[in-house]
Symmetry: C2
Subunit: 225 residues, 2 copies
């Protein structure tokens, strides 16, 4: 296939969660096409690096964010998605706590910023499609994998977990059932510590038990919320 | 990125289900590398076609099977997965009833055949990895989408559905609970027709109600088994 002229890029959809708001990390493009427009961070794969190395490198170069638990989302390959030439992009996604990372633009990015996913700017290329699929996957995934725990403090009151799920699912949850279901999964340890928040009674703190989670998962127990 | 030298292929993992056996469609390679070895059907993406067009074309060319409901599985991009050069492959998967299709090898395929997924030959490239991930996805997917119904006759006794799930999940299901759960989903119509199978009593036939399924799905009802 000496005459195949398709180039390969990677894109990183990084979501942040904080206090009931889901946001996404975007860059303002420094060069054409779409100069001055917002876009998902990403870029061309180098010949010798894996796709995962490429996406981590591009994300760090453009935004300063260094993470190594991005998960492959989907590959976007419509023939005219890039005005320059045929470019196929492998998109990845991840979830972080924005306040745990410092962001700063460099290389192809003129600016970098977090945007509330309900108040997005106009995006470059087919990046709205990519983001839409990423949001769908995020909402779906949280119902069968405990990815949400990475977004909470190490020790958290149960109400924080409830708020996270309400936000990510985009709907209210039945509080009693949710508590029963989550505790029934047997992956949370209730600690002998309390926290006071707002005007309510002090609430017990919980901690995610990763070891038990992986034991259950390896034993074929399905985590379903 | 004029100096990026990465080529792009697509691969089609096509599963078949018949009478309690899951099989996968493989081709024997006519040319090097891996000449004479079995592989997942696939090939290079042409410059002007979408990834979906590419995978459907390659599948039909190599195996004679023409289907248009392949779903994207994962993109495989380890730098040395192909001994020729850097080749990244976007893998797709689908599920069919083998007896509804005629298979015949052509172009790059010397032979084409169905293999029981528990009795696989040695595979070319990283195709064992691709197949492993496809099998995992299949088992996972069947728990939240009714893909299984495409594999049964249009009208079927409940025991056929149970057998299908037992096979795909690779474990027994609790028959009473399974029946209750499936019927509770409200996507099966019980017909006024019976069928006699083996020595048992004649059993009622069921039919999948696609319209109702999509109504429920669009209303946000999650299909979970």
């Amino acid at each position: 296939m000496g005459n195949q002229s398709i180039k390969l890029t990677v894109d990183a959809v990084v979501f942040g969660y904080e206090e009931g708001v889901i946001s996404v990390l975007l860059i303002k493009r420094k060069y054409n096409p779409f100069k001055g427009k917002w876009a998902i961070p990403g870029g061309f794969v180098l010949n010798e690096e894996s796709l995962e190395q490429a996406v981590e490198r591009e994300l760090e170069e453009e935004t300063g964010v260094k993470i190594n638990y991005l998960e492959q989302l989907y590959t976007f390959g419509k023939p005219n998605r890039d005005p320059r030439e045929r470019i196929v992009s492998v998109a990845y996604f991840g979830l972080i706590r924005p306040n745990a990372f410092k962001i700063f633009a460099s290389t192809d990015a003129e600016e970098v910023a977090w945007f509330n996913i309900n108040e997005l700017p106009e995006l470059s290329f087919d990046h709205s499609d990519i983001l839409e699929i990423a949001i769908e996957r995020l909402k779906n995934k949280i119902t069968y994998e405990p990815i949400g725990f990475e977004l909470l403090d190490k020790k958290f009151p149960f109400s924080d977990l409830e708020k996270l799920y309400t936000t990510l699912l985009g709907r209210d949850v039945d509080r009693r059932n949710f508590r029963k279901k989550i505790l029934g999964l047997n992956v949370l340890d209730e600690l002998d510590e309390k926290v006071s928040k707002g005007s309510g009674r002090p609430a017990n703190l919980f901690q995610f038990n990763k070891k038990r989670y992986f034991e259950l998962k390896n034993a074929g127990i399905i985590f379903e919320i």
